[in-house]
Symmetry: C2
């Protein structure tokens, strides 16, 4: 996977694409190092080796730039793993989230983006779109599990995928224990058990 | 519940306690209105009607003040509801978290505190302590469920309580749907189903 064809390091397109690439990587660097509060378009332009006016003209504001970082992250999102069972698929998803959130650069970037979204509705909307795309990529594993009879018909596939992530984001942002592989596996198993029990069936009455 | 004896509005103690009360409420107001980034000790002193030097001498820094806000929130934390069943207790917990996170002032305050914790290790430690206290208050409902045979022996009570909150914090911070009572009930039911299936048993091997 490493080398010059690693996903995300080389892209098609001409100068415009190269400028966007350089600016978005620089914006990620700045977010990772300084957080959203100190993100500054002039600093990003300097880091990217791009003229300040180009950055102001194309992205306008810090929140506009962060929204484009999130759009780019969604575009680069890796395809889901298919293992043939709900258990395997949810564990693969949980491990991917766990690896992402424990990579120092990615952890800092996600914390900065989530913190930014708490204080700005446009950034929050961009963050929601990013996660909607990620969740939609993995939801078919739950729909396949419905077809295989592993979980009840009417199970909300997106909600099961979010349930796998939720305890891992809780550990990242709030605490409660290490964000390790055991936490990932437990998150996947808990979501699967709840799904099998029908907890994510849409619009049902609560069972007695 | 309303009126001058409402919890948290009147406290025992002399001038020192009254000053702390005024400063902490002012800090919460400032966090709610402006977020952590723009929190300023001089502004908090002005809002509280307290001398600036008093605030600097007692709390020192913005992070020191936020840590005391979190300590005070933990001290004021309401006792848990006991309903006699795990299902009822977890639903009461989920509804309490959901009401807190949809109250406009509390939602803004929690978002500000969580955002602050992403960028500062002392604030993160104070946030973790606050949630450890809240989780410890509710954990006995799971231990009672173990005694009643509702969930397997060895179930990690704290982890079940965190599992109830995690999807609600996910909706607050990341998205995925409304933070309504249905979301609270689903979070409680999912945590209960996973606990019954043994997903939160400590240190067990994964079942086949």
């Amino acid at each position: 996977m490493a080398g010059e064809n690693e996903p995300g390091t080389v892209r098609p397109g001409g100068r415009t694409a190269r400028v966007r690439e350089a600016v978005l990587r620089a914006a990620e660097d700045a977010l990772t190092e300084l957080g959203f509060t100190h993100l500054d378009l002039a600093d990003v332009a300097r880091r990217a080796g791009v003229g300040k006016t180009t950055v102001y003209r194309r992205w306008g504001t810090v929140t506009g730039l962060v929204a484009d970082v999130l759009l780019d992250m969604a575009e680069q999102s890796a395809p889901r793993t298919e293992t043939g069972s709900l258990s395997g698929d949810l564990k693969a998803n949980a491990r991917l989230v766990q690896r992402t959130l424990t990579d120092p650069r990615q952890a800092a970037l996600f914390k900065a983006l989530i913190a930014a979204a708490t204080g700005d509705t446009k950034t929050a909307a961009a963050l929601h779109r990013f996660y909607d795309i990620r969740v939609a990529e993995w939801a078919p594993c739950v729909r396949q599990a419905v077809e295989r009879g592993e979980v009840p018909a009417g199970t909300d596939a997106e909600e099961v995928v979010r349930a796998v992530s939720a305890p891992l984001y809780y550990r990242l942002l709030i605490g409660g224990g290490p964000l390790d592989e055991a936490a990932a596996d437990r998150a996947a198993e808990a979501a699967e058990a709840a799904a099998r029990a029908g907890a994510y069936v849409r619009g049902r009455e609560k069972p007695a």
